[in-house]
Structure formats: structure tokens, C-alpha cells
């Protein structure tokens, strides 16, 4: 069935809403990657099993909805009963029978499955009352956890494609661009470049062909915002791209999805197929002159392909080697045609901006950083997961408010933002409002939104070494400053972590970093030294301890630590079986002995000891 025009779309919307309203209750099972990894699929199967045997009045398996990531990954698998919003955490397949019996057939709450506030032990029943959610402002994530990820019906029922209809019937391309410019929307992939200005430049290039591309490469390790949006709200991304295509006169679009996200590819493909079937993609969309089609282009595992010119080469089936940006890709991009490349999160904001207006969007966030940002909050933080807050929220609010503070109440040491191109911020900067400009000034950058929280057991030298090692393996190898410079920079951090460096080496690293930033061809090289420079800036003392005292205060750098067994040892022999090199000897109920010569510092014994009998020196 083809949706012929905007009136028909509104009719379809009514029909979809009616279909959804058939069941008074709905069960939402979070099927984001984290929950799936934790067994969400088994929970869905459990519902199917239970409901096949037990009939519940006014409910059926159709009302079990698989949605995208709620963001509260620490508490998964998650099940939510709508419309009440009863929020069940850490659900196991064996709990499903009770859920059906108590919460669906009747209106009872299963207390043991409720979230428990760590400060006072109180149980919180509803989704909206959980501080994790009430402190957020979910705009880009609006559909995640609410609608079935693969359903065009639910998307339309929730107002989907009305923004597209509005654009096609009552706005010219120039008006669309003006609206996006007025909203102040800045690229959410990390560059923070004004999206409207990018679209304007692209449209102004006289060309027979314009392209629109969505960057779903999300290469920053620790970032899974775009993945969750692509998996959980694929139509939101498509609608944003369609509006952009209308604005810049593009007839062909691409979504570049990273190789490691097969579920995102599946969901996007279904969404595209469904749109094509109803005529929302293809020729004369909604009866207008606008024709547009989208293809998925899969990445094949290369961080550098997150860079725009490298991405475009990859779409064209080439190696992902970037080229100098003196001629910008918005003017000469894919196949040398003017191309708009924006991030997943940027596009998913677009339909809502068109719907509610630029002024509404500017009322959120700060004047030069409007709207919200999605962050993946990971590391040593209690509430690991996906969150969205208005620009200008402070680090403290995010990490200690929504994030619930540090695991085991250990001291906060630093938070890393911007992935391998970003930097660290120490405790003294916790009250910094988070936005593109403040983070860059502080020596870091917003990046795509990965936020890695670290405690006192993270070594900053080790962290810099880790990022440099990542960049060295991901460098395309075209230009010398990046290929050889980062390689040597990494070698020098290895020296520091092994206690072989001198203070002159520290200065050498800073100078080399400056030259790499100056001389590199693309962003990977240009921002590569950032993690190193920011850790030296805020944690210089830690570097000096490694250099002068050959000691690693955090107990991480293997050459500088030893494992020792203290007298808390009960002789349980757990460490002896854990040790792969037989470095520990001892009898039952006797204090064990660790042979330093054989020890490889792998940490297996430390991990397995329940008595704190293994110490790191």
C-alpha cells in the first residue's frame, strides 16, 4: 500500500494509533545490544512460551514490544509495563511467569524486580521517577525504549514522517536550511560544525548531483550512541536524511554503518525496505516532486573511515585514505560531487526541529550550543549506560547525578571525552559545563560523546599509551607525521611505562606532539596527540613519578609493579589454579608463596582472591 500524500499519511497515522490502542497494557522488553548480550532474547522467548499457555484478558504476545536501548545498561535486562511505566530490572527468564501472572493479569508490582535507590534502599516503581531518567532530556533518544525498533507503523503512530510532510508541502529548501541554521544545530559527530551552514554551502554548489551521507561509523571505542539510535530508531535517522536531501537537492543518500554493528544494518535495511514499500522512499514522495533513495554502505573495520574524506572513499569501494581538506568535501565529496555528511545523532534531531520549530530547540542548552547531547557513560561509574542531557549540564551532574558516582566509592580521578581524539579532565574541572567550546578550551573535545570515567586505579600514562597504540594501528599510513610520528610517540610512552624514560623524553614527546598536530594530513593525526598532551597537562606529576621513581602509583604498569601475597591468605588455593605459569605454590590452609621470577603480572590471582590477600606494589 502506497502512502499517496500527506492527507493519506494522517489517515494511516490514525489507523496505526488505533491498532496500538487495542491493548490496554503493553510490555516493553529492551533489546539494545547490552541487554541482548545479557539474554534479552531469552526473555522474549519466555514471554512467548508463557503466553502460549496462559491467556491474559486484553493482552497477547503482539503487545510485547522489542525496543531499542533504554540506556540503563547496568540494570539490564529491562522490562517495562506500559502505560503505568513499571520498571523491572535485572529480569531473568524465570521471572517472566510471575510478571505475566502478577503485573499483566492483575495490577500487582513485583518488588524484588524494582530498582533500588542505592542511597536509601528505597524501591522506585516507575520509569519517570528513576533519577537516572528524570535527570535526562531525551530528544535524540526519544523513541528508544518506547517504540518497536523495526516497526514503521509505530513510528508513524508516534508522529513519524509528519515533519517530512510539512517540509514537502509548506517549506522551500531554502526555508528548511534557514530553520536548521536558526536552530543552531551543530554536528553531533564531534566536529560541532553548524549543520545549517553545511547544508547551505552544499546547496549553493551548482551541480547535477548532490549527495547526502549519514556517518554511522562511530569508531571511538567506548561510544555506542549512534549504534543505539540506528538500532532503536532507524526511521528517525531516515526522516532526518530525507529532509536534508530535500534541502540540498539530493536524490541519492548513503548510510555508512560500521562493520561491527550488524544489528544496526538489519534494522536500517528493514526500515528502508518498509519506506520503499509505502512510497516514503523512491519517486515522488508523498505526491511531491521530491524523489530520494537511500543505500546502506558497510564499513569494513577502519577507525580512519570515520573521517569524512576517507569515509567517502570507502563508500566508493576504495581504501579509506583521507585527502587534504583544502577543497572541502561539502563542495567536492563523494565522486567529487557536493556532499552533506552528518552524524546519526545530528539527523535524528532534524525531524523534531522541523516539527517544533527552531525557537523551541534554542530554548534548550546554551546560546551557542543549543539542544542536547547523547553520551555513553562508561568505565568506573555506577550507572553505566546511555544518557542524554541538555548542553551545558556539568560533568558533576552527569557523573555523580545521573551516573550515580564511582563504583565501590573509590575516588574519582579523571573523565576522558572525545575518544582517541580527545582528552582527560581531572576533578578540578568537574563543574565545567559540557559543550563543544568549553571542552575544547580545556584541552579535550566533545567528540562523539563517549565519556570514560576513571578512578584512582587507572594509570594516566597507561591510558595515553593505550590511545596511541590504538591510533598507530588505525592510522592509514599515508602521511609521515601520523604514521611515523605517532609510532614514535607511542614508543616513548612505552618507555615511560617501563621506567626507562628520562625527563628529556617528556619534553621530546611534547615537541613531537606539536609537530604531529601541525603536519598531519587529517584529523586522526592532528588530534592524535591530544590524549597524551591532556594527561601530561593535568597529571604531569604522575608521569614524573614513573620517570624519576620508576613507580606506577595506580598499580597498572606491569614492569613497575609486583604482586605479593600478604598474611591475609587463608590457603584456599584459588590463586594456584588461576595462575597459568605456576608461579604460586603452597598447601591447603597455608599461606601461599609467589615466585617473582615466574610471575607475568597477569593479575589472574588478584582477580580471583576473595580475601584481599594479593597486593599490588
Amino acid at each position: 500500500m502506497r502512502i499517496k500524500d500527506p492527507q493519506h499519511l494522517s489517515k494511516v497515522q490514525k489507523e496505526c494509533r488505533a491498532a496500538l490502542g487495542k491493548f490496554p497494557k503493553k510490555v516493553i522488553v529492551c533489546c539494545g545490544t547490552g541487554c541482548l548480550a545479557n539474554g534479552a532474547a531469552k526473555i522474549v522467548t519466555a514471554f512467548e512460551d508463557v503466553l502460549s499457555k496462559r491467556k491474559v484478558k486484553g493482552f497477547s504476545i503482539e503487545a510485547v514490544t522489542k525496543t531499542g536501548c533504554h540506556g540503563f545498561c547496568e540494570q539490564g535486562p529491562l522490562v517495562v509495563i506500559e502505560p503505568q511505566g513499571t520498571f523491572y530490572t535485572r529480569v531473568k527468564p524465570k521471572d517472566v511467569e510471575a510478571i505475566v501472572e502478577k503485573s499483566l493479569a492483575h495490577d500487582e508490582i513485583l518488588e524484588p524486580l524494582l530498582y533500588s535507590d542505592p542511597s536509601n534502599g528505597h524501591k522506585i516503581e516507575r520509569y519517570n521517577d528513576l533519577p537516572f531518567f528524570s535527570m535526562q532530556r531525551r530528544i535524540a533518544l526519544r523513541h528508544l525504549g518506547k517504540i518497536a525498533a523495526h516497526s514503521i507503523d509505530e513510528y508513524i503512530a508516534d508522529g513519524g514522517y509528519q515533519a517530512l510532510a510539512k517540509v514537502l508541502t509548506s517549506m522551500t529548501p531554502d526555508e528548511v536550511i534557514a530553520e536548521i541554521m536558526a536552530s543552531g544545530l551543530r554536528g553531533r559527530g564531534g566536529g560541532g560544525f553548524p549543520a545549517g551552514r553545511k547544508w547551505r554551502t552544499c546547496r549553493d554548489v551548482v551541480s547535477d548531483v548532490h549527495y547526502v551521507i549519514c556517518n554511522g561509523d562511530e569508531g571511538d571505542p567506548g561510544a555506542f550512541m549512534d549504534r543505539s539510535i540506528m538500532e532503536g530508531d532507524p526511521h528517525g535517522v531516515l526522516e532526518g536524511m530525507m529532509i536534508a536531501a530535500y534541502a540540498v537537492d539530493a536524490r541519492q543518500g548513503f548510510i555508512y554503518v560500521r562493520e561491527e554493528y550488524p544489528l544496526a544494518v538489519t534494522h536500517l535495511k528493514k526500515a528502508i525496505d518498509d519506506c520503499e514499500e509505502v512510497g516514503l522512499l523512491g519517486d515522488n514522495i508523498l505526491g511531491s516532486d521530491f524523489s530520494f533513495s537511500i543505500r546502506i554502505s558497510r564499513g569494513a573495520g577502519a577507525f580512519v573511515c570515520g573521517e569524512s574524506s576517507a569515509l567517502m572513499r570507502s563508500v566508493a569501494g576504495e581504501v579509506g585514505e583521507p585527502r587534504a581538506k583544502y577543497i572541502r568535501s561539502v563542495v567536492k565529496g563523494l565522486y567529487d560531487k557536493p556532499t552533506v555528511l552528518n552524524n546519526v545523532e545530528t539527523y535524528v534531531n532534524v525531524p523534531l526541529i522541523i516539527d517544533k520549530g527552531a525557537e523551541w530547540y534554542t530554548s534548550i542548552g546554551t546560546p551557542s550550543n543549543t539542544g542536547t547531547k547523547v553520551f555513553s557513560l562508561v568505565g568506573k561509574v555506577r550507572n553505566t549506560g546511555l544518557i542524554e542531557v541538555a548542553m551545558g549540564a556539568t560533568m558533576r551532574e552527569i557523573i555523580f547525578g545521573i551516573g550515580g558516582g564511582i563504583i565501590d566509592n573509590r575516588p574519582f580521578k579523571a573523565v576522558q571525552t572525545g575518544g582517541p581524539s580527545g582528552g582527560c579532565l581531572p576533578e578540578s574541572m568537574l563543574d565545567l559545563p559540557v559543550d563543544f567550546d568549553t571542552l575544547t578550551e580545556a584541552g579535550s573535545m566533545m567528540g562523539s560523546g563517549g565519556m570514560i570515567v576513571m578512578d584512582d586505579r587507572t594509570c594516566m600514562v597507561d591510558l595515553a599509551k593505550y590511545f596511541l597504540s590504538f591510533l598507530v594501528s588505525e592510522s592509514c599510513g599515508k602521511c609521515v607525521p601520523c604514521r611515523e610520528g605517532l609510532y614514535q610517540l607511542h614508543a616513548m610512552t612505552v618507555k615511560v611505562s617501563e621506567g626507562r624514560a628520562t625527563e628529556a623524553d617528556l619534553e621530546k614527546m611534547e615537541k613531537l606532539s606539536e609537530m604531529i598536530i601541525l603536519g598531519s594530513l587529517c584529523g586522526l593525526g592532528k588530534s592524535g596527540p591530544n590524549p597524551l598532551l591532556s594527561t601530561i597537562r593535568y597529571f604531569r606529576d604522575e608521569y614524573l613519578v614513573h620517570i624519576r621513581e620508576k613507580r606506577c602509583p595506580a598499580g597498572v604498569c606491569r614492569e613497575l609493579i609486583t604482586y605479593e601475597i600478604n598474611d591475609k591468605c587463608t590457603g584456599c588455593m584459588a590463586c594456584i589454579s588461576a595462575c597459568a605459569v605456576n608461579a604460586i605454590t603452597g598447601e591447603k590452609k597455608q599461606v601461599h608463596v609467589l615466585d617473582q621470577e615466574k610471575c607475568t603480572k597477569c593479575g589472574a590471582c588478584y582477580a580471583v582472591c576473595k580475601f584481599d590477600a594479593i597486593e599490588i606494589h
Binding site: 571505542p221 555506542f224 562493520e259 554493528y261 569494513a300 568506573k380 588461576a578 589472574a604
Partner: protein, 151 residues
């Protein structure tokens, strides 16, 4: 190694016969044969009418492709930042020393392949390893031996 390359035309048929399809074709070949056999690369160059040197260049540039057959059991250690902070490098090193290979390699008996992957998006379960598509979250370095012993 003998392969049935009869599958190739079917794989080619899924895509446009244009250079832009190269990466997608290679991915499908990788999935089908668990690596990129030389003859498959030659066939691909012929079908797309592009130089063999370009097909080879692309095959060796991207992480997803392997030019040597993979092992029966593929162990992936996530080394994303969240996992790194929670001890992923120790897990990687333990696998490397117990299997006597480096990440990216396959054991000589073709039983195990060890790979590192940067972030699978399940950071709440860090550190995480994936063995043949099965996720093992909150993994401890002391479990390495158990995984290797399991069938």
C-alpha cells in the same frame, strides 16, 4: 585448500557490477568462506573489471578481512576504552601467552583465532569477550583457561 567457488556468482549477483560494490562483495566472501581465498579475489577483480592490485589493497586495508583461514573457535577480546579500564589488556595478554599467538593470528592447528575488537557497545558488562558470537561479560582473566578448555 579446495573451495567450491560456485557460490561466487550468487554473491556477485547481490550487488551492482560497479567498483563501489567491492567492499560489500568482499564481506560476503569473508562470511561465506571465513577468509578471502586468492581465487575468489581474482574472480572478483575479473567480474568488477578492476585491477587485482586494487582488490588486494582493499583486502589488506580493512580489519574485517583475513587472507588466511580462521580457526574453528574465534575469540574476540574487546579492547574498547571501557574494557581497557577494567583490565582488557591483561585478558588479551593472557590469551596470547596461553595460545602462543598474537592477537590477529590463528593457532597452527587452526583450532583458535584470537582477535581484538574495539568496542562492541556492551560497556556495562566490561570487560567483555565474545567467543563465536556468544558474549561473556564481566570476564575475569582467571577464566581464560576455562574458555580455552571448553569445547
Amino acid at each position: 585448500m579446495n573451495h567450491d567457488f560456485g557460490k561466487l556468482p550468487e554473491i556477485f549477483g547481490r550487488y551492482d557490477q560497479s567498483p563501489a560494490s567491492l567492499i560489500a562483495i568482499l564481506q560476503d566472501i569473508q562470511r561465506e568462506y571465513h577468509y578471502l581465498p586468492k581465487e575468489a579475489l581474482r574472480e572478483t577483480a575479473r567480474w568488477l573489471t578492476i585491477p587485482l592490485s586494487k582488490v588486494y589493497s582493499v583486502s589488506t586495508f580493512y580489519n574485517a578481512f583475513s587472507l588466511v583461514p580462521r580457526g574453528k573457535k574465534v575469540i574476540r577480546v574487546c579492547v574498547g576504552t571501557a574494557c581497557h579500564i577494567r583490565g582488557a589488556s591483561l585478558i588479551q595478554q593472557q590469551f596470547e601467552s596461553m595460545l602462543n599467538i598474537k592477537a590477529g593470528q590463528t593457532t597452527p592447528d587452526r583450532e583458535h583465532t584470537l582477535e581484538v575488537v574495539a568496542c562492541v557497545g556492551a560497556c556495562a558488562m566490561a570487560p567483555i569477550i565474545i567467543v563465536d558470537e556468544k558474549y561473556h561479560g564481566s570476564f575475569s582473566v582467571s577464566n581464560v583457561r576455562k574458555i580455552l578448555k571448553a569445547k
